[in-house]
């Protein structure tokens, strides 16, 4: 059966060159970087080289990068590390209503520890209003966290505009850039952020490796206490092969970015216009222009997303949904709720996220199968009957 993978926001395949780069560090160069003999020193140097590669990917200095186990850990370290280090200065945190669970639940954790958290609403496209952010900042606000691009609706926030407000008021700004790094240009100085999270899983490195950028010597309380690894900000022997993998993936991401963007923008426009032409009663979720190049997300009326995913799966197509029925907790995606999607329409959510490996021919295949699946589900749906006015 043909296989078309269109769920790159969930995971990307590890690149061949990345695997090749990693392999020697499992058995040949296995030494502990904290040791003082040549074997360990060499490995320590390899780690520093990777740090420089990751730094280059986002326009940072090498010493501003901490390796973590994931985007989720990076987000946890950013929120908790700053909140714990600055709690004497203030106990108020601001996040947007469409943050990843690792930001959302880290903030909620502090709510239970007598911090106050403001959840900034977003507009129908998922954008945070800078004016609103400005009004929400108080004298005891210590941190604002707003994601760069949203993985579910693809919307890209005006980060530099939002961070400028925080800079002016001496409030730290963190952005979760897991979905944007490798897909659009990300530069910590242009974005003017103090902290930024990224993850290997979205750029062709393995799951289980991420990084956090923190500006200069920003004080950060570690989550994992241990030795002096990562300049004392994260204990535990470094995950050398995975760090090498992230380094290699970062180099490739820099080299390929503009070709990738051009290719993905073409695919995105094909799928969005194709869906609009062939399927009636469909809403594009997220912003029409300010969105990730490889991201197309919709809500399709009168059908349910989990059923649609399974039906596409039977044709080898892999996609995602924010439908309540697809979540273990049976709750609609908070992102779809935050952009004001009515609950019944949110049920029909479908998300396609593409990568360089996707081809133009695949889009036509997906459009044909999507049309047929929607037709079939609508033929079963009592809501569609009423829509046709029969």
């Amino acid at each position: 059966m043909k296989s078309v993978y269109m769920d790159h926001a969930s995971a990307t395949p590890v690149r061949e060159q990345v695997i090749e780069a990693m392999l020697p560090y499992f058995d040949q160069h296995f030494g502990n970087p904290s040791t003082v003999y040549d074997m360990g020193l060499k490995i320590k140097q390899v780690i520093e080289e990777q740090r420089a590669k990751v730094a280059k990917l986002i326009g940072a200095k090498p010493q501003e990068i901490i390796f973590t186990s994931s985007g989720a850990e990076s987000n946890n370290l950013a929120i908790k590390g700053v909140a714990l280090a600055r709690q004497k200065k203030g106990r108020h945190i601001i996040i947007s209503a469409i943050e990843h669970h690792s930001v959302l639940n880290s903030a909620r954790f502090f709510e239970r520890m007598d911090f106050e958290v403001t959840f900034l609403p977003v507009d129908e496209y998922g954008l945070v209003d800078p004016e609103r952010l400005s009004r929400a900042i108080r004298s005891d606000t210590i941190l604002v966290s707003i994601m760069h691009a949203n993985n579910e609706i693809g919307t890209i926030q005006p980060i530099s505009e939002l961070s400028a407000i925080c800079r002016e008021k001496d409030v730290l700004f963190h952005t979760d850039a897991v979905a944007s790094v490798g897909n659009i240009p990300v530069d910590v100085n242009e974005l003017n952020v103090d902290l930024l999270s990224l993850s290997g899983v979205s750029i062709g490195a393995p799951k289980g490796i991420g990084a956090l950028y923190f500006r200069d010597n920003l004080r950060l309380m570690p989550l994992i206490h241990g030795g002096i690894q990562e300049s004392g900000r994260r204990g535990g022997t470094e995950n050398v092969p995975y760090i090498v993998g992230l380094g290699k993936a970062s180099v490739l991401a820099v080299e390929e970015l503009f070709d990738k963007m051009n290719h993905l923008e073409k695919l995105r426009s094909l799928i969005i216009s194709g869906v609009r032409e062939r399927i009636e009663h469909v809403k594009l979720t997220g912003h029409p222009d300010k969105r990730l190049p490889g991201h197309a997300s919709f809500c399709i009326e009168a059908i349910e997303g989990e059923a649609l995913i399974y039906m596409l799966n039977q044709h080898g197509i892999y996609s995602n949904t924010g439908s309540a029925c697809a979540s273990k907790a049976l709750k609609t995606s908070p992102v779809l709720v935050a952009i004001g999607t009515p609950p019944d329409l949110a049920q029909g959510s479908i998300v396609f996220t593409m990568d360089s490996s996707n081809k133009v021919e695949e889009i036509e295949y997906v459009l044909v199968k999507l049309y047929l699946a929607v037709e079939k589900l609508r033929s079963l749906s009592p809501l569609w009957r009423s829509k046709e006015g029969i």
Partner: protein, 123 residues
């Protein structure tokens, strides 16, 4: 996640559709909570001569609807009333725990359709 039986009924829901001039109609659920089912029945000699349905919902909801219609067809009204959530799930070789209640509404929709028929007939 789903059993082969569930996928089979989801992929080929052959009893889906509506019955024009149905003897009874039962609707349960609503689109806001995620699943909605409408059952249509035709009754002859106190037996379910035909059962059809329309379902808005997930894989489980569609599979449940189809197997309930299959289980009910040809049965007497009394027999059909004894179809429960539990034996529907069993007939599908099990349902995921979180789908057991919210999507397993077929038996209820069928019972509503029978009730509707009886109400029309006996007032």
């Amino acid at each position: 996640m789903y059993s082969e039986k569930v996928m089979e009924h989801f992929s080929n829901p052959h009893n889906a559709g509506i019955i024009e001039n149905a003897d009874g109609i039962g609707e349960v659920g609503n689109p806001v909570c995620g699943d909605m089912m409408a059952f249509y029945i035709k009754v002859k000699d106190d037996k379910l001569a035909d059962v059809k349905f329309k379902t808005f919902g997930c894989v489980a909801a569609i599979a449940v609807s189809n197997i309930v219609s299959e289980m009910a067809k040809g049965k007497t009204l009394q027999e059909a009333k004894s179809i429960t959530k539990k034996n529907v799930a069993k007939a599908l070789d099990g349902l995921p725990k979180e789908k057991m209640h919210c999507s397993n509404l077929g038996a209820k929709a069928l019972a509503e359709a029978i009730k509707d028929y009886e109400k029309k007939k006996y007032g």
